[in-house]
């Protein structure tokens, strides 16, 4: 899935946060180039 791809992580405070998604991507062998956790009020 992540072969030859750079991964952008867009998490959300009320969903799944950026760091958690990034850890999953890294564990799967992916390269994270940007990670954020957005918050909508």
């Amino acid at each position: 899935m992540f072969r030859n791809k750079k991964v952008i992580v867009i998490g959300e405070r009320d969903g799944v946060a950026g760091p958690a998604i990034a850890e999953c991507v890294k564990a799967a062998g992916g390269t994270v180039v940007y990670a954020a956790t957005e918050c909508f009020v």
Partner: protein, 103 residues
Amino acid sequence: MDLDTQTAIERLSAEYGPERLLVVLGAPDAEAASIAAETVVLGDPSYAGPLAGAQLGLDVFHVLEEEFREAVPPDTYDQQVGLMADVLDAAELATAVRAFRES
């Protein structure tokens, strides 16, 4: 989508090329997931940010989609995402994001 995130995506697309990027979303509901997916595929639908009108066509997935889940070691996925996988509607989120990925 946050304007800073849109700016970063624009910069990364120019640096790596859109075909080399893959976006993973953690939105809590279908509406939020749809807006985020639309933004990275077809452009910012609110026309407020740098990605307004930018049809980048990026690959986009939601963290709860089966394809993403299968790529991640189960222990890691359960530890990082497990709780939210039980709380959020994975099927609805997958449908929302897939609609833009396959458009």
